[in-house]
């Protein structure tokens, strides 16, 4: 079930360790390490999404400040550190660009229906799951991987992707659908990658 540890998994563990130190000890040195790793990547990510440099820098500050303040809400069983920080960046960006809030699922909501399959996933570390994701994307057919890249990593609307790739809109949509379904199949609880 578990994959062999790779340098990326080790790196992911290191990030979780630093975040844990920020949460438990308010450790500024650990925060500086997290900033060193994430701030330049977040800036690159936001600029790639079309943010102006100045806005990107402000958003990075905003995101990293939230990381400092909310560190104790990070749950290693739910997501890798990069994924958690991605969700913060997404939410701050929505807030900034559209003055809207991305809704959050309240883990204490009495109506929340718990996940029975959670136990099946518990044996696998999130760091390893995310490593699996990386290799699963690597195994997608090239044109599917490219479409996912544009749809998610560059935040282009499907119509924009259709224009860029000169594919009909319907083809873009069906390929994205295929790519997503395939990724999910590979990552399912039994998807020992």
């Amino acid at each position: 079930m578990a994959t062999v540890s790779s340098p990326t998994t080790i790196e992911a563990r290191q990030l979780a360790l630093w975040l844990g130190r920020v949460a438990d000890l308010r450790d500024r040195a650990a925060f500086v390490e997290l900033f060193g790793h994430f701030a330049p990547r977040l800036k690159g990510y936001l600029v790639r999404l079309g943010c102006e440099i100045g806005t990107a820098e402000e958003l990075v500050q905003d995101v990293m400040l939230t990381v400092w303040r909310r560190a104790e809400s990070y749950d290693a069983a739910q997501a890798g550190v990069s994924t958690w920080i991605y969700t913060i960046a997404r939410n701050r960006r929505i807030d900034r660009l559209r003055s809207e809030r991305h809704p959050t699922i309240d883990p204490d909501d009495p109506l929340l229906v718990r996940d029975e399959a959670e136990n099946a996933l518990q044996g696998i570390e999130t760091a390893e799951r995310e490593h699996s994701l990386r290799s699963a994307i690597g195994r997608l057919p090239k044109e599917q991987a490219e479409l996912l890249q544009m749809a998610f990593f560059e935040d282009r609307p499907h119509s924009g992707i259709a224009a860029a790739t000169r594919l009909p809109l319907g083809t873009v949509k069906s390929r994205i659908r295929l790519a997503l379904a395939r990724l999910r199949r590979e990552l399912g609880p039994d998807g020992s990658v």
Binding site: R48, T83, W84, Y86, T87, H102, I105, D115, E130, L180
Partner: protein, 215 residues
């Protein structure tokens, strides 16, 4: 657990933060009740994590780290979040993402026999967010949609040509779907609907009604 879900594409768009807030709130309400869709969103969010991790590294302007270190001790502004109160009565069983938008100020309005509506939240870019209360056994006029309608059942249920929808089930309709929902004969139906265009009634009576109600 719900039987009618959102498709992968919609869940991925949600994970990417691409839905207008009312749609996102509806989806988050479904996610509260549906662990399977929640897991899918977590996987798509991991794609976002990967995007950050593999983004081109761009150094920040000088002094950026120093300026954030100076802000670590700032007092965090308090979030203006509504906490549900007992006064919420009929809304107390709403999933948390939706509960923020309802309360004693929510006004029900009779639209036609057997149907009451309450508009909630903000309307932007032509997006309309409405609570609908349909009386037990009541049939809605046959209708279709100009744009997209997404709906979640919050209490009771309804049936249409496609199936029977219970609490937590989501129905996504587009201009190709023409349906005639009938509320559960005993419990009626309380649901939350978001549309990005107005609904068009298609039956013979519906066509006349269309002239009078913007529904």
């Amino acid at each position: 657990m719900p039987n009618f879900h959102l498709n992968d594409e919609d869940l991925a768009d949600y994970a990417a933060g691409r839905f207008a807030e009312p749609f996102a709130v509806l989806i988050a309400s479904h996610l509260t009740l549906c662990p399977a869709c929640r897991r899918a969103v977590a996987e798509f969010e991991a794609l976002g994590g990967l995007a950050v991790e593999t983004a081109p590294v761009m150094e920040l302007t000088e002094g950026s780290l120093a300026s954030i270190m100076a802000r670590l001790d700032e007092i965090e502004p308090v979030e203006q979040d509504r906490t549900p109160s007992p006064a919420d009565g009929e809304f107390r069983n709403f999933p948390a993402p939706l509960r923020r938008f309802v309360g004693p100020t929510t006004k029900w309005k009779k639209v036609m026999r057997g149907l009451e509506e309450a508009e909630i939240g903000t309307m932007r870019d032509g997006v309309k967010a409405t609570l609908m209360r349909i009386a037990p056994g009541c049939a809605m006029p046959r209708h279709t949609h100009d744009g997209r309608e997404m709906l979640i059942v919050l209490d009771g249920g309804y049936s249409d040509e496609i199936g029977t929808y219970d609490v937590g089930d989501v129905a996504v309709a587009d201009p190709e779907v023409v349906h005639r929902p009938v509320a559960d004969p005993v419990e009626g139906c309380l649901c939350f609907a978001v549309t990005d265009a107005r609904v068009k009634l298609t039956g013979p009576i519906g066509r006349v009604l269309n002239l009078f109600i913007r529904y």
